[in-house]
Symmetry: C2
Subunit: 509 residues, 2 copies
């Protein structure tokens, strides 16, 4: 492909993306394809001879689009947002096009210096303590990671390393233990697996928040058993209900115990760009590392996960090895040693694009608007007696159909099967709830009403006709007496098998 063809192909693809977003409301958010749909659409091996880009772009439309879940549809309300903005997309295009990586400063001064500055821009915009910034006098600093999972793992590794270094005892690594709440993201438990440190999942209070007393008691118990606490992962904005751990209480305990505190604010961290929410990170001065994902709620396309260390020497101690091609950098900080990979893409460029083209005001407007839309949805739920709101925070509302879990299960099934909106289930306080999140930046009040009408329609057509029939050892729920969904497992984890059958409920108690 020569440069002229690239110009044509690139511009045709820009147009393709533009028209994709122009028409995004016309496509169902959930794909209707069956598992294995792609198998017969593609040859089994790489074609011997190259094909024309026209054919490839046609196939994106013909083969890929039907199997796509539309994460930026205004009707996508699952998980948390994954960022997408026009400045972010063009930033990704340019950084990929220029294709300049970096290792140390010498291998790409612009990439390293822009990343350092962007991390300071972000840190100041969130109101993080100055000691986390690259420009501070001390050893603090920030860097872009691939994902929050990786940041949590690195935070835990640093805590592990610092603890081992501080102990004279042999065999201390087999006695290490770390803590988080049972409401934390599964990636925190995974970080424990990766770092070979048992991760205790502590109970929360009634609001889903980990409290200082609970942590203190767990640490005390472990220490009495001869174990060595090395890290606490606190969450600001849990995946399930967007709850905030009590950072001030937890931080005080970590400070007193000399335990590393990593803060996972993957989704909700972006909200601190709005000063009225900063009270929720009270105690952040106790954090040793802090992470949030601009690629979630701050309009920077994935991947872009921002991580700060209060003392980057801990990261170096945990991660630095002598590189094969030794050329010590003349530039400080030498951020290549604060991450897993050897080199880094020029992701700072897309942060720069987004922050300049939106400005602080644009970012704040985006966040406040999504929170307002969530409150609007919440009001719709609250005024309907058939539902109850179980939790609500930031861009998320958790609600359920009153009564048995199975009604909510049937609602989720029905909505999912129709594919007009995308919702996710969650178990909260031992009840099944629906998570409804404002994800797409295209979502407007009209889309919230669209979603609400869809939910009510499925409720009235599929949930309400259900009747619970109790027999000796099982209760059977019938939908108009005709269709039955088998729910073999009381935790309802086999829902996705269910939606491929006719609607039919049998509940084994």
């Amino acid at each position: 492909m020569d440069i002229e063809e690239f110009r044509e192909f690139g511009k045709a693809s820009v147009d393709y993306i533009a028209s994709y977003f122009e028409n995004i409301r016309k496509i169902d958010v959930i794909s209707k394809v069956e598992p294995g749909y792609l198998k017969n659409e593609l040859p089994e091996t790489v074609p011997l001879r190259g094909e024309s880009w026209h054919k490839v772009l046609e196939d994106v439309d013909k083969v890929i689009l039907p199997g796509l879940t539309h994460w930026h549809s205004p009707h996508f309300h699952a998980f948390f947002p994954t960022a997408n903005s026009f400045p972010g997309v063009v930033g990704e295009l340019l950084l990929s096009g220029l294709g300049s990586l970096s290792k140390d400063w010498e291998t790409n001064p612009a990439c390293i210096e822009l990343e350092i500055r962007m991390m300071d821009w972000l840190g100041k915009m969130l109101g993080l303590p100055e000691e986390f910034l690259n420009e501070s006098d001390g050893p603090g600093g920030g860097v872009i990671q691939n994902a929050a999972s990786e940041a949590t793992f690195l935070g835990l590794l640093c805590g592990k390393q610092r603890t081992i270094a501080s102990q004279s005892e042999d065999q201390v690594s087999s006695k290490l233990v770390a803590y988080t709440s049972k409401e934390s993201n599964s990636s925190v438990e995974k970080a424990g697996l990766l770092a070979s440190v048992p991760m205790r999942l502590l109970p929360t209070d009634q609001n889903g928040s980990l409290r200082g007393r609970t942590l203190q008691a767990a640490i005390k118990k472990d220490k009495e058993a001869g174990l060595v606490p090395c890290c606490v992962v606190a969450t600001l904005g849990t995946t399930g209900t967007c709850a905030f751990d009590n950072l001030e209480e937890i931080g005080t305990v970590c400070h007193e115990e000399g335990v590393w505190l990593h803060v996972d604010a993957a989704y909700a961290g972006a909200v601190f760009a709005c000063p009225e929410y900063r009270h929720l990170m009270k105690g952040v001065q106790f954090a040793d590392s802090f992470n949030f994902n601009p690629h979630k709620w701050m309009l920077v396309n994935s991947d872009c996960s921002a991580m700060w260390f209060k003392d980057t020497r801990n990261a170096e101690a945990a991660l630095r090895v002598k590189t094969n091609l030794p050329n010590p950098s003349v530039f400080e900080p030498d951020i290549q040693h604060w991450q897993i990979p050897d080199s880094r893409r020029f992701r700072a460029l897309k942060i720069w694009f987004v922050l300049r083209i939106y400005g602080v005001e644009g970012v704040q407007k985006h966040i406040r608007r999504q929170i307002a839309l969530a409150r609007f949805f919440q009001q719709l739920v609250e005024v309907d007696d058939r539902f109850e709101v179980c939790a609500s925070s930031m861009g998320l509302v958790c609600f359920r159909v009153k009564g048995e879990d199975v009604f909510t299960r049937v609602l989720l099934d029905g909505v999912s099967k129709r594919g007009k909106i995308f919702l996710t289930p969650y178990f909260y306080r031992e009840q099944l709830v629906v998570r409804f999140v404002i994800c797409s930046r295209f979502t407007e009040r009209g889309d919230i009403l669209f979603a609400w009408r869809e939910i009510v329609r499925v409720l009235e057509e599929q949930v309400f006709p259900c009747k619970i029939v109790v027999s000796k050892k099982r209760r059977r729920i019938r939908n108009n007496g005709t269709n039955i969904l088998k729910v073999l497992d009381p935790s309802f984890t086999n829902i996705h098998q269910g939606i491929n059958e006719n609607v039919k409920v049998e509940l084994f108690l």
Copy 2:
């Protein structure tokens, strides 16, 4: 930014990239900026109000470009290639524009199914054993990772997990040990740090290749000391000299000892697309995991690292945790559990673009062409009596100025300071050598001649006038008797301080 502005901004950026490549020979490959150059070019905080995209794109040219190292300049001969191709750039644009991530199949059927198929396309193109493929009947399979560093770490984790599971003994994890060669990439040693497993750096033979006998002896010694070998990381294409470990010998030892074998073929793996090089991976059937980076030598823009497992159940055992939003996938394989992050970008799309638009023949032509260019450069070095070739393999030639290391050091300094071509130093068999790699896909014979003339010019102007003056305890090397570069450290690791001074050599022995 509305959709019309996005169309303009996107297309202007496509044109910017096109004209960047049209003019790439006019720009020096190494930036001339001083450390900290960006500091005063950018405000200290995010601008309050958004700016126009025109201004931002202007600033890319004004602020970023001068500080960029041009990794795709035909005069970039450092490290190994980082891939960049027009189909790859447009693939990245589209995957970023559509912005669809995936977790399990349900969250994005197209993304999961295309990734599975692309990994099979790649595996078949390289001639990997069938049992590694997703489409095979057994438990093997492949998935895209972020980086080879991550793949090595995951391979080691799997070996660790499998070994622990197979041992009845308590406390086995503190006795684990892993092996690689001293020529392996520093990321292998880092993987040992990440996984808390000591990584032995074993000596190689005269060709930089790790042999079975050496490994066998090391394992025997460790086992006699009560340690438990869990993993070997073999390299196909070392960073220093692109040497190939003897996989057949190593694999036989691993097989007999029941030790996990991970193969790191980050750069050179791509060469197996050309059948005439497959003898270099003889023994690959012994591998438990195998990794190469399409984002190095196979034209797929970073990031895109391909990793296969012979038995993916090992990856699941090492990495799988119960996710917060439980919905077991109806689709097999459930590749979300074979990686660190929770979700994945739609990177398969750019592999698809590159492989279709190049075809097998296009990829082979690219690789063979770069190898031929390296041999052409090698011939230029070989016919010049002032130089010696120390190693040569694939797209890499290692050479040095005959005599004391300091001559090669002055050569590297001089070339680096002029910034016309980018070379890197390496220590091989205790001698300083220059690594010269064919990196850019734009590099042609004329660029090789350009590089050679540059090397000879610096040799004649700066290296040859040097004389070694021996006094009692030091030897002094003078460049025309006028300029002196201080070399304080016999390993010459402070070269980058040197190049900012006048050329002047003092060698303390």
